[in-house]
Amino acid sequence: MSGYSVSVALTGSGGAGAMTAGQILLDAASKAGFYGLMTRSMGPQIRGGEAAALLRISTKPISSLDDHYDLLVAFDWGNIARFAAELPLAANSLVLTDPEQGEVPEPIAVFGARAAELPMKSIASGIPGGRVNMVGLGAAAVLIGLPLDSILSVLTAQLGRKGEEVLAAATAALRAGAEAAAILPSVTKLGTAPKDGVVRWNISGNEAAGLGALKGGIKFVAAYPITPGTEVLEWLAPALDKTGGALVQAEDELASINMVIGGSFAGIPSATATSGPGLALMTESLGLAVASETPLVVVDVMRGGPSTGIPTKSEQSDLNIAVYGLHGDAPHLVVAPNSISDCLYATQWAVYLAEALQTPAIVLSDQAMGQARALIGKPAESPYVAKRLVAEANIENYKRYALTASGISPMAIPGTPGNNYVADGLEHNERGTPSSQASDHQSQLDKRAHKLDAFDYGDLWADIEGDAEIAVVTWGSATGPVQEALLRAKAKGINAKMISLRLILPIQPAKMAAALKGVKKVLVVEQTHSEQFHKFLRAHYDLPKDVAVISQPGPLPIRPAEIVNRLAAWK
């Protein structure tokens, strides 16, 4: 119980409208001045499957879902066994159930929470055009103390177009639910919304990644749809169209990555977005981008693996392929956002880095961030925009792959007179002519590694918080629960430092050594089955002897309590 937030789950199958209700609740919370987070859990059906909107609303910015839900509103219990594990409840949580839908089923009953009945269906049926989800929403709002006005104003904005009747029905159902809630047991209530004057954004991680790409300077995108990366593209398609760029749907990922290589070779910052299976198809050509020194960005929104795995659920298990998945020695960039807002910053930074370093950057987002929506303060402007070192015209004896001190060589863009050259994925000499000579291979391998190693990444390589002898080392969407856990641990008198890596590749041994100075114990937190991140850290960094690991696969998110417990056990 964190005191400043309330967590609500809305579930239902088919057309029950759990997702719609959740979205309205989030919008209303925003209108009322709260912060918040909403993720969704969906069944495999395209339409009409079970769905859960999982919300946490709070009086200050939050980074993670809570350990359990304070309120579960179940419009029905269809297929509940499939995702009950994603709906943890505490003893004083409240389950709101419709008596028409039968008893609270076993997988939920086991949590031992309180239950109360609300005949949502029958209330709704008493209202012409009334819908179950609006009844439930009204009750939920009252129970958690969210002003009904904020919901009404969202409804007006969203349903206005659909005509007065629709709006009236929704309003009536909402009010009926609210009234019925008066006699229900109470649940944790929201505090007063902060009056911080900060403009709230309501944004998903996938939209943020799209925006980051655009702000970084991406003008050309070629892509193939795949869950859960598609929304990055769906945001970018009209956005690029409106701002002088273009997005093209390719026939497959082999085509999309190579179109992106072509666009970038032609001088236009280019990117794509995908998920694990698509990334796997791109690795051969990512190697081409490395060898030919062609900048580009691939946003990989990770999902459960291996293979087709669990397309709609989150996991961090593409770390290995992103870091090591290219054949040969192929140094490249891997950047990982660690929050929904960082999906914007990290992607924008990745564009900047890829362009500056003339190499591909993989951005490792995941379903948990990508398909979640957050209420956040409007993000500050970031200075990172694409700026490529280009060759001026008519350089005598132009060498595309010249050995320079920085390892970065001026790139001639087609259209530049006098510098024509042929980019090549074969090993080559400085001019770009294929060469199988040992000395050319060595010097070009050195060059490609050196340009990444020598670059100054500043402080952005990691987010470091606190200072203590215990450090929690984490990355990506696992960072949110860690942040929340460290706040809670502090309240219990346990101090720990957080190191959340944003720059996965190239490794930063000196910076990590500085960050780990004085650290005696390390807890690694990640969402994989095989401790991919822990093994990665061991391979490339010197960790203290005492290392513990919380590594669990998806789809369940890592809960702050687990982390607090592990830290407490160490004490």
Binding site: F220, A222, S264
Partner: protein
């Protein structure tokens, strides 16, 4: 370099020495390309020449324009990316029958239907030269000289021009390396024709298919004017022997190119997130 003298085909040749076997048909295709480019009259820097992997795919390095020697089978995807990102460039792609029709077959099919304005030269020798002589999709089923298919492939070959037509290519021509002037003319026509142009060039591999030296006798120029309707072209190609050279189809579909518009600023787009 203030006075611009017209460039000759020599100006489009680089000083990199081809790795090709003496007598390889690809030498003639190289001359045809440089000739076509000289006649085209655009500056060298405005041409992008993209290829995959194979003997034939080495060709960009032997010319003096911007080039990309990519990975096996992906030339058309890179080329499309170049053109879509930079509509101002003249884009050429080239490669072998293996690169373009075996591993690259999907991009071939989709390039035909996408109809991006570029010109693709398939240097067909009915064999994988680079990997020392295996059957390609254009190899006859009873060719037994590959160690991988010592009894022949037993599989019907594809006819590239027929496939291109079914897939939607907008300009289709066939040439023979033994007649580089005709090939140069076809390439130039292909470049000038809007949309995706396929130039299928019979280009003998003297090392693994020495019998292709006889192609000289087999080729014959088409005496018909180019078909402009798909049905007509289909009909003609149904009875084609694979050795007719010339323009076989010249369609009139519009080339694909997303518009470039300025309807909003990033700040405008950002405002939608504010609630």
């Amino acid at each position: 370099m203030t006075v611009q003298t017209p460039l000759t085909h020599q100006d489009f040749k680089s000083d990199v020495k081809p790795i090709w076997c003496p007598g390889c048909g690809d030498f003639s295709v190289l001359s045809a390309v440089t000739k076509a480019l000289a006649e085209l009259g655009r500056p060298r820097e405005d041409i992008a020449f993209i290829s995959g992997i194979g003997c034939s795919s080495r060709i960009p390095a032997y010319t003096k324009v911007y080039g990309f020697h990519g990975v096996h089978g992906r030339a058309l995807a890179i080329a499309a990316g170049v053109k879509l990102a930079r509509p101002d460039l003249t884009v050429l792609a080239a490669g072998g029958d293996g690169d373009g029709l075996s591993i690259g077959g999907n991009h071939f099919m989709h390039a035909c239907r996408r109809n991006v304005d570029m010109t693709y030269i398939v240097m067909d020798n009915q064999v994988y030269g680079m990997t020392k002589g295996q059957a390609s999709p254009t190899t006859a089923p009873d060719w037994c000289n590959s160690k991988l298919t010592p009894e022949g492939t037993g599989i019907s070959p594809v006819e590239p021009v027929r496939l291109a037509l079914a897939a939607g290519a907008n300009f289709i021509a066939r040439g023979f390396a033994g007649n580089p002037n005709e090939v140069a003319r076809l390439i130039l026509e292909g470049i000038n024709h809007p949309g995706f142009s396929l130039i299928h060039v019979l280009s003998p591999c003297v090392t693994y298919r020495p019998e292709q030296r006889d192609w000289k006798q087999a080729v014959h120029a088409s005496d018909a004017t180019p078909a402009q309707l798909i049905a007509e072209a289909m009909h003609r190609l149904a009875s084609d022997d694979g050795f007719t050279t010339g323009v076989l189809f010249a369609g009139n579909r519009q080339a694909f190119m997303p518009p470039r518009r300025n309807l909003a600023t990033i700040a405008d787009l950002e405002r939608k997130f504010a609630s």
